[in-house]
Symmetry: C2
Subunit: 456 residues, 2 copies
Amino acid sequence: MILRFSSFFLFLLISANTFAQSQEDSLFIRRIFDQALTDSRCYQVLEHLCTKVPSRLSGSPGAAQAVAYMLQVMKEEKFDVSSLQPVMVPHWVRGQESRVEVRQKGAPVKKLQSCALGGSIGGKVSAGVIEVQQFEDLEKLGEAGIKGKIVFFSRPMEPRHIHTFEAYGGCVDQRWAGPSKASKYGAVATLVRSVSLREDEFPHTGSMAYDSLYPKIPALAISTADASWLSAALKKNSSLRLEVESFSKLLPDTLSHNVVAQLTGSAKPNEFLITGGHLDAWDNGQGAHDDGAGCVQSMEAIRILHELGYKPRHSMRAVMFMNEENGLRGGKRYAELADSLQEKHIYAIETDRGGFTPRGFYIDSDNPETVAKIAAYRSLLEPYGLHDFKKGGGGADIGPLKKQGTVCLGYIPDSQRYFDVHHAASDTFDKVNKRELELGAASIAALLYLLDKYSE
Amino acid sequence: MILRFSSFFLFLLISANTFAQSQEDSLFIRRIFDQALTDSRCYQVLEHLCTKVPSRLSGSPGAAQAVAYMLQVMKEEKFDVSSLQPVMVPHWVRGQESRVEVRQKGAPVKKLQSCALGGSIGGKVSAGVIEVQQFEDLEKLGEAGIKGKIVFFSRPMEPRHIHTFEAYGGCVDQRWAGPSKASKYGAVATLVRSVSLREDEFPHTGSMAYDSLYPKIPALAISTADASWLSAALKKNSSLRLEVESFSKLLPDTLSHNVVAQLTGSAKPNEFLITGGHLDAWDNGQGAHDDGAGCVQSMEAIRILHELGYKPRHSMRAVMFMNEENGLRGGKRYAELADSLQEKHIYAIETDRGGFTPRGFYIDSDNPETVAKIAAYRSLLEPYGLHDFKKGGGGADIGPLKKQGTVCLGYIPDSQRYFDVHHAASDTFDKVNKRELELGAASIAALLYLLDKYSE
């Protein structure tokens, strides 16, 4: 009987304690969101980055300026440490604007909106076109159907996916691997329908990689509107010819940097919670959503905790990775340094899905307990519109940390608008809503706070 | 024992049945979203409405064209009934562009971006300015502080609200009632800081109403950027004077129409489920989010069910209400007609919070069972991003139906961007994302389907 009473009493005590803790967390998270919505700096920093720094593809002068600017902002914020991590990066340049033209007898020249794919070589070809939607089609067509031709990959994104990243995943193979798949059968160039859900005039670039077994050929994207036009035109006239010219090339690797801001932990300074985005961006736009938003949100997240006087137990970092778009050298370098300096990274949160209204977090762990533990934070974040806490990928830049056992997390904003502007000239600052950006930064700050407080 | 077995068996049967039903619903809702995302017409109709029909404030030639256009689209869709409901509406006109100017000795004229508030009178005044944030301030200042002056209401929207409509609710009294509150103490005109969370150059209009006890005075909004400028300028020089000129006036009431599309019910044709938005829009913009989006979503919702071959048990209607913005005559007229024709309206869903990504539905009922019943549909709609099913307001246009016992529901899209463009020239078609609009239409169609199927 006594035992029963004490158990009951203990239960009450624990419940009361849990309740008080949850109350305390709830109040602190409210302060995080208040701070983000009334006194954040991320929108203004993003504006500068997008409109005052020229395009910042890895290796470019703009990338160097972006590194210098972000370091300057970090220093103004008086974080405990603000530093650069040197990293050698690929230096691909687009050169002058590419040209894709349809020349038909008796008709005016039709210019298709195009751009070279990242990593592709330049060149000039004039040839007939063969349209395919699947790699299997290439095999069926064989050399007989492909040799000497321009292969046009036209499989559109599947609009039925609610989460648009699934539609992207189902399409991007054409861009990434299409050129060599076609070159294998003697294609002279490839065009890919821009990987976008929006029908418009903007060509969307992005990385491709050559398979060293086959000759390198020029590889370009054309706008979704022009891709639809070309498909229709080929139905009418399958012998239609295109002139394709691209001027891109790969220069020698260049020195660049990851940019890192740190709040040093009070209890475990050599254990880390980091949040990051990538500072490099495709050269054809401002890289506002991809991934200027993620960079400024990462910095804002630790800035909010700093401003609120929160003293993290573990060290916290905001990392602006270099070269996510065409090499991932920054992410790899960061993990190498973490290993060699024996910095134990417990959690890493990536924000690289755009600066849209918050929806939740992916948890990249095979341990159901870890997933359940983080998913339990949902109740504290639902009042701010975050409902999705589920197993899923963290992100490319933090991926290399998984080797050392880091639990990776991916910030999930609403995905509907992302691929409208992804890798295109339309990814500009005016597409970012200030509040949506701030709510994302606050969401990440809240998760950092919870992970810091409840991690052993 | 036999009884026990049968009970258990019955339980299994019911469970199996419930499961099968839920499976069937889940599959049908998937078809609704597939249809919306692959073969909807709402985005294209919205584009026409926004860009081809001139501004459509109640009583204007544009409103008449909008009515004709929407009726034509309904007829093309071959709904069972497409009809107009005549309704007399107020006919307020803005006249030429208003003028708010600061003239200070030795300084160039500073023009503030302004617009007359809906319902306000025109006039020209030149006077000093007194800034207030609360109506109580007016009382404290009294005639001594206000008489002969222009009252400037400058209370901004509170950014800390996560749901921005709460911030709107905490601010809009200044616009609606401010002019007469100030006139009571002898003010000669009022300016209100635009009710927007975004700091920019667009003045946001909206309705105001005069209290017949006090003289009518010109009432205008100025942009948030200019409101911030004016507050700062008044701190430096409290005797600063403004010239205000507005040309707006109220003309005699005009004949207009609600536009109604109907699918006639197979089992209960005289019981109705309706969904609606308002076709009128402020004259300074295209009314894309407010509320072109709601109109085209309503029509799309019943169109999707029609296209999928769904035969509703109850009659379903998409209603394009006229005159929500400055009179609510269409909503009132609709309810009067429903009463006089003894049309029993069971449920009404309003969509008038913008065409943004879906979040859920408000349930406007004091009956906890009704709220719980509809909230239980959440599990079927969560896969599409709808998590918010809670007690809340349905909407202005369907409000008059509550008298006859109709359960009103309000579609909730994400609210972060709405007040950036609300009632401003920036509320244009390009601000609407096709997928977000379509997902909203599908969400409403899904709810209509469930309500139709499970209502007795």
